[in-house]
């Protein structure tokens, strides 16, 4: 009996690594495919192009994953990215605030949107899908209002965040995103907060009876998602050197896709930030590779759709021993 349980224990211990291993293999397959079919895919240029695109989607996906694990969903992230980038642009260019302050306020604007989502969704118990759908519309409207519906040029200052640090080859934004992935993964797996979020997503009633006040946690994940979307907006502005009220249209679907490819359940209670990050990488590699191949838009769409489905097929195959 004891021997048996140790064996099972070992399998169980590896299963987390294992889970992410499968997604990692999928990623490698994709890279191998593009390396074979596109001429200059395996170059430092491609790598740095991919790395510079990652940060915004990565941080947004971290927030989305947390929300999904808690059993919710946040459809407003795309709009909040646009809103926050608009706020940064406005404060810096029109009101002339110093950039760090403008950036901070932009992130806070995202946090406010998240707070509204959180209050309506957790304390008033409105269906979070609809609340964040409302915020998707309202947030975009605000972004248009803030920018006067025009792209605002911010200039090279803000871009320093998105440009590779000399000698290191990666940008501060990427380092920040990577650090957040690690922090979020540890928070989810190694802190009381993470446990509670998982417990609430897995069975809210049972969580309540176990003495967990569910509202503050449900609200907190939405605020975190809002703040991270705000940060995503800042990163987007840094990447573009401009704030674009039309930025990040449909980003919510990419973020959800990345999270689910990475093993997060839409039913709540299960998820991995590292997996979600691998999901982001898959999406980025796919977009890059297809662009380098220069295939036509319809074919790009078809392939993207197929890869999304294949990724979860692989995931399904894994979890069915």
């Amino acid at each position: 009996m004891r021997q048996h349980s140790t064996a099972a224990g070992i399998v169980a211990r590896f299963s987390l690594v294992f889970e992410e291993l499968f997604i990692f293999i999928a990623l490698l397959c994709l890279v191998a495919f593009f390396a074979l079919s596109a001429d200059n895919f395996l170059t430092t240029g491609t790598l740095s192009a991919i790395l510079s695109q990652l940060p915004a989607l990565t941080v947004v996906t971290i927030g989305m994953t947390l929300v999904l694990v808690s059993g919710g969903i946040d459809l407003s992230v795309g709009s909040v990215v646009a809103l926050s980038s608009a706020v940064v642009g406005l404060l810096y260019t029109v009101f002339g605030l110093p950039l760090p302050l403008a950036a901070l306020l932009g992130i806070l604007a995202g946090g406010c949107a998240g707070l509204v989502n959180g209050l309506l969704g957790s304390y008033l118990r409105l269906p979070i899908f609809i609340v964040t759908l409302g915020m998707l519309e309202a947030g975009r409207g605000l972004a248009y209002l803030v920018t006067g519906s025009q792209t605002m040029y911010i200039g090279p200052d803000i871009q320093s965040m998105a440009l590779p640090i000399p000698g290191l080859g990666v940008s501060p934004a990427f380092l920040l995103a990577l650090a957040l992935v690690i922090v979020a993964q540890l928070t989810l797996t190694r802190t009381v907060f993470g446990r509670y979020v998982i417990a609430i997503g897995s069975n809210e009633t049972a969580a309540k009876i176990s003495g967990i006040r569910t509202e503050p946690y449900l609200c907190a994940v939405l605020v975190i998602s809002g703040l991270l979307a705000g940060l995503g907006g800042l990163m987007n502005a840094a990447y573009l050197g401009a704030s674009d009220p039309n930025a990040a249209l449909g980003l919510e679907l990419s973020a959800i896709a990345a999270a689910v490819i990475g093993g997060t359940s839409l039913m709540g209670g299960r998820g991995s930030i590292v997996g979600a990050f691998l999901g982001v990488l898959i999406i980025a590699v796919l977009q890059n590779g297809l662009a380098q191949l220069g295939v036509s838009e319809p074919v790009k769409r078809l392939i993207t759709g197929l890869v999304i489905i294949l990724a979860v097929l692989l995931d399904r195959w894994r979890s069915r021993p």
Binding site: A38, D39, N40, F41, T43, T44, G45, T46, L47, S48, A49, S52, Q53, A56, Y144, T147, S149, Q150, T151, Y153, G155, P156, Q159, N236, Y239, L240, G241, A242, D244, P245, N246, A247, A248, L249, G250, Q287, N288, A291, Q292, G294, S296, E297, P298, K300, R301
Partner: protein, 299 residues
């Protein structure tokens, strides 16, 4: 010359690689542009290689910036770009130029101030959307009574072309001494344009003219007008093939052709010229043509 691309531009056997970066490849205008470029390449296959890319969504700047970065990293020799935004693309293009890539701007002009800030000189080739819209507007409004009421359907509010065309339309209306009763965004979309037009028609029983910033919205407006059995003069922009039957039937009176299929070809030829000679040529405005039932008949 380009260091990292490997195949240099001077004196070697491999033909140069030109990347055409457009807005949405899901839009007929850009599809035609791509088709024109591909036909041109097929006819000059020994002269250059072509990679065509567009973004998913006309307004997704980040994706277009990413595309430029990807083209830099895949080592192309020239980029011909129809920027989705006149400012936000400049930094990325400056990276391309720093990497030794020749950049040509088509369709939508990059902001000269920002170019100056980055100390760049990127030649522009393309039509003036504003002049084109003014031309279409003038034609649509000619001969109408001076108190006619006009509605304008613009595209995505922040889009450069949308702003240019809206301005052109507004100039035409002002010149005719008429009134714009409402200006709304149909977001370039047919269905939305039809829905908005329906609403406008009931709100303004006296409406006489709808100026739409692209043909898709003109199509939508025409179907809403038909459904409401009203007489409204409609004009569009772009000269897509689906508008022709409506021009013939008179449901739409005019549109503008910017010869999109040639636009990219001009850009590519310029790029090849620079690659060969190293001389940066001047900006060039490409022609725009008013398309009306008569001109359609003539062809």
């Amino acid at each position: 010359g380009s260091e990292e691309g490997g195949d240099g531009t001077e004196a070697d056997s491999a033909p140069p690689r030109v990347a055409l970066v457009m807005k949405s490849l899901a839009n007929e205008f850009f599809v035609n542009m791509a088709a024109g470029a591909e036909a041109h390449q097929a006819a000059h296959s020994e002269a250059y290689q072509l990679i065509v890319n567009g973004i998913r969504n006309e307004s997704d700047l980040a994706q277009q910036v990413a595309l430029v970065d990807q083209m830099i990293s895949s080592g192309v020799d020239a980029i011909v770009i129809a920027p989705a935004d006149s400012r936000a693309l400049v930094p990325a293009l400056s990276r391309a130029i720093a990497a030794g890539i020749v950049v040509i701007n088509i369709d939508n002009r990059l902001e000269p101030e920002v170019l100056a800030e980055y100390e760049l000189q990127i030649p522009f080739i393309g039509p003036s959307n504003r002049d084109g819209a003014r031309m279409v507007g003038d034609y649509a409004l000619r001969g109408l009574p001076g108190d006619s009421k006009v509605a304008i359907l613009e595209g995505i509010t922040s889009a450069f072309n949308s702003i240019q065309r809206r301005t052109g339309f507004e100039e035409a209306v002002a010149a005719a001494g008429m009134e714009v009763v409402t200006l709304q965004s149909g977001e370039w979309d047919q269905t939305r344009a039809a829905q908005i037009t329906s609403a406008i028609l009931s709100q303004y029983p006296e409406l006489d003219v709808i100026l739409a910033a692209n043909d898709n919205m003109a199509l939508g407006a025409a179907s809403a007008v038909g459904m409401a059995s009203r007489e409204v003069v409609i004009a569009g922009f772009d000269n897509i093939s689906a508008i022709h039957p409506l021009l013939q039937s008179g449901a739409v009176v005019a549109t503008a052709d910017q010869f999109g299929d040639q636009l990219a070809v001009f850009g590519i030829e310029y790029a090849l010229e620079i690659l060969a000679t190293g001389i940066i040529p001047q900006d060039r405005q490409t022609p725009l043509e008013l398309v009306t039932p008569e001109t359609l008949q003539a062809n």
